[in-house]
């Protein structure tokens, strides 16, 4: 007997513990996979042993390997064995492994129910604590149903450590098994007045999260929270309460009115940025829901905008970002208050940080007016030139077009200017939004009769320069623009000055390298153009010129017949 134990402990002396495993992996950088599979074999052997210490060690190593990306679900049963160890050290390791890899699909998870129940009623508070913590990560609807009662009892445990954990885990239980909420609710309410501040804030946390999902039921608690808000000095708790109120105010406007004053006080008095941010956000939310135009709230809006301006001006990138984010919320309901800060926003466009620039762009979208549109777009165009990286550029492009085409081009006074902007945009390389530009051009040309002449001349220029654009067939985006150009020229050919030239441009051999549908449009419009030229020439009586053109067409058309595209051939 003794020999067996001695032999056992000698064997075990050579077991790797966690530190050895980590060191080993770090030393085997080249053949890591092989080394690890070797270790996994060792672990499998260790798990077959009876000794719980050995098993726990193995499970600990497995947890580490799981973090590196190896699947350890085959060891689920062994993990449960370790969880049932009586020693705290091993139990802890078992629960940790479980919380990392157990989930609803784990078939042995039902075996844990009894073990957890035992641990929950253990005299040792740390056993209970570890069980609660672990459970919160892998609770399933079945587990929740079975253990809800035990956890509810724990909410009234003598030790605040346990009460706190029990309250927090009830949230997870509610999520999985909603029927447990009704019986547990009175106890939860009690905890709001628990003498221990930790338990109290846990209760606030849970109720806050619950209220966000279902605000109606928690409206009755508002007065209680009001009292808590005015008496608490703990910033974490305050933030939660304020968030809770933010969720409740849409339902109860009177609550919102009552809140404005204490919130404004907090905004004035606090030095904590996070609290300030939360207050400002909530005030905005309240005022949005109260936007039935109460005049005396403009002072609060002004205050918020002021504070946000301070945030945006701060050199800390994070604050800038959040300031801009909150400003965009205000913009939706109180655009005038934000107008005065246009200069600041434009400044933000120059920021090195892309996220900030995108936020500033969003804001600008809401801030344009007839007067400043051109100025803003001019600035944006400068950015487009400077912008590195195509996603940002694309974003800018879409935004420019969005801004300009807002509410049926409400803000554009000079459409010719807009067309020239569009043409400039086509010179950009590698953008995916060619079709957007094309659509815009078509739209404007069709709708705004007055500028058709100008549009047509610009399009003719484009077609002439088509070889520049079509040089790289991958840039399909821009080619879409040629589509629009050809269409416009064909449709409004009466405005064309140099129809011959344009026709020639369209007939150039290079055109066959363009995508099929573009060629189709080309051909269609060429015919239109041809017809109108013929008409013109006949009126003037230049028979020769007419014949020349016809010859040209006959020469060049065959190359289209050879095109692979059916549409083109058909035409």
């Amino acid at each position: 007997m003794a020999l067996k134990m001695v032999k056992g402990s000698i064997d075990r002396m050579f077991d790797k513990n966690l530190q050895d495993l980590v060191r080993g992996i770090r030393n085997h950088k080249e053949d890591e996979a092989k080394y690890i599979s070797h270790c996994i074999d060792e672990i499998k052997q260790e798990l077959k042993q009876d000794n719980i210490a050995v098993k726990a060690n193995a499970v600990c190593k497995l947890t580490y390997l799981q973090m590196l990306g190896y699947d350890i679900s085959w060891a689920a049963f062994n993990i449960i064995e370790v969880m049932s160890a009586s020693k705290f050290t091993f139990k802890r390791i078992g629960y940790l492994a479980a919380s990392q890899c157990f989930h609803e699909g784990t078939d042995v998870i039902m075996l844990t129910t009894n073990q957890i129940r035992k641990d929950l009623s253990s005299p040792n508070q740390y056993d209970t604590g570890v069980a609660l913590t672990g459970l919160s990560c892998f609770v399933t609807p079945d587990l929740a149903r079975d253990l809800a009662n035990d956890i509810m009892t724990l909410m009234s445990h003598t030790k605040p450590y346990i009460r706190k954990k029990a309250v927090l885990i009830m949230y997870k239980v509610f999520l999985k098994y909603p029927e447990s909420l009704r019986p547990a609710f009175p106890r939860l309410k009690e905890k709001l007045e628990d003498p221990d501040p930790g338990v109290q804030s846990a209760a606030v946390n849970v109720i806050c999260e619950l209220a966000r999902r279902n605000p109606k039921n928690y409206l009755s608690l508002a007065p209680l929270f009001f009292k808590l808000m005015t008496s608490s000095t703990n910033n974490w708790v305050l933030i939660k309460i304020i968030k809770l109120f933010g969720a409740l105010t849409p339902l109860e406007p009177r609550l919102g009115k009552k809140l404005i004053e204490p919130l404004t006080n907090l905004i004035h008095s606090t030095s904590a940025m996070s609290l300030l941010y939360e207050c400002v956000n909530t005030v905005i939310a309240v005022l949005i829901s109260l936007s039935s135009g109460m005049p005396n709230h403009s002072a609060s809006i002004q205050l918020c905008v002021q504070k946000l301006r301070i945030l945006i001006e701060d050199s800390d990138q994070n604050l800038k970002y959040l300031g801009l984010l909150a400003m965009s919320k205000i913009l939706k309901t109180h655009p005038k208050s934000v107008q005065s800060h246009k200069d600041l926003i434009l400044q933000c466009l120059d920021d090195k940080d892309e996220s900030i620039r995108l936020r500033a762009l969003d804001l600008l979208y809401g801030m344009v007016s007839k007067k400043n549109l051109m100025e803003i777009v001019k600035k944006l165009m400068i950015h487009v030139d400077k912008a590195e990286g195509t996603t940002y550029r694309d974003e800018l492009l879409t935004k420019i077009i969005d801004i300009c085409s807002q509410s049926n081009y409400q803000y554009i006074t000079n459409f010719e200017w807009y067309i020239s902007i569009l043409v400039e945009l086509t010179r950009l390389e590698g953008t995916r939004h060619g079709h957007l530009i094309a659509a815009q051009m078509l739209d404007v040309a069709i709708r705004v009769k007055a500028i058709r002449k100008f549009a047509v001349s610009q399009m003719a220029m484009l077609l002439d320069n088509a070889h520049l654009i079509a040089s790289n067939t991958q840039r399909n985006g821009i080619c879409e623009v040629l589509y629009a150009a050809a269409w416009i020229c064909g449709e409004f050919s009466e405005h064309l000055e140099e129809s011959n030239q344009t026709l020639e441009a369209m007939l150039r051999p290079k055109v066959t390298t363009l995508p099929g549908h573009i060629q189709a449009v080309y051909v269609q419009n060429m015919v239109k153009l041809y017809a109108s030229i013929l008409q013109q020439k006949e009126q003037v009586g230049e028979k020769e010129a007419a014949q020349e053109i016809t010859q040209l067409m006959i020469d060049r058309l065959p190359q289209f017949v050879q095109s692979a595209d059916l549409e083109v051939q058909e035409r």
């Binding site: 003794a2 134990m5 001695v6 402990s9 966690l18 980590v22 210490a53 947890t63 580490y64 973090m67 590196l68 990306g69 020693k87 705290f88 050290t89 802890r92 390791i93 940790l96 990392q100 989930h103 699909g105 040792n124 740390y126 604590g129 609660l132 913590t133 919160s136 990560c137 892998f138 450590y161 927090l168 885990i169 949230y171 930790g198 804030s201 846990a202 946390n205 849970v206 703990n234 974490w236 708790v237 933030i239 968030k243 933010g246 969720a247 940025m273 996070s274 941010y277 939360e278 956000n281 990138q317 994070n318 800038k320 970002y321 959040l322 090195k352 940080d353 892309e354 996220s355 900030i356």
Partner: protein
């Protein structure tokens, strides 16, 4: 909070705590994508970004990135505070913590996190209380180990 990830500058995962139930495959996919996105950020950029339908708050401490995913209505600044508080706790516990400490004692890092956050919510706002709970649990472990070694010695002698 939905999850917290710690990873090095080379993209190696040092700690992962998930507060929402997800399959292993999904976790791996999310981790890979997120690590790539965060590592691509330049140093002066702000700590918040939008990813899928979540907000990501991250901060770099020495060679480790601490990255948390929060929901739309959560407060970003308080999440930064949470990250900072966790780093302070690790620092206090390990005494001037560095990445190696977390690598070799990863289970302790998890235990500390478990005393600070539960189910994605802040459990204990007092640093002192969190550290006290860890210390006491550690003592419990020590006592346990001592007894077991004594017991083993007795058995092997008999």
């Amino acid at each position: 909070m939905q999850f917290m990830l710690l990873f090095s500058r080379q993209g190696k995962l040092r700690l992962q705590k998930w507060y929402v139930p997800l399959s292993d495959k999904e976790k791996k996919k999310i981790t890979r994508e997120l690590v790539q996105t965060v590592l691509a950020r330049k140093p002066k950029m702000c700590s918040f970004l939008e990813w899928r339908d979540l907000k990501i708050v991250y901060k770099r401490y020495a060679s480790l990135y601490f990255c948390c995913a929060i929901e739309d209505q959560d407060n970003e600044l308080i999440t930064l505070e949470i990250i900072h508080r966790y780093v302070e706790l690790l620092d206090k516990y390990f005494g001037s913590v560095c990445e190696l400490d977390i690598i070799f004692n990863f289970e302790k890092a998890y235990f500390i996190l478990d005393e600070f956050l539960l189910g994605g919510e802040v459990q204990e706002t007092s640093k002192k209380n969190v550290l006290k709970a860890i210390e006491q649990a550690d003592l419990l472990q020590e006592v346990g180990i001592e007894i077991s070694t004594v017991f083993q010695k007795i058995c092997s002698n008999s």
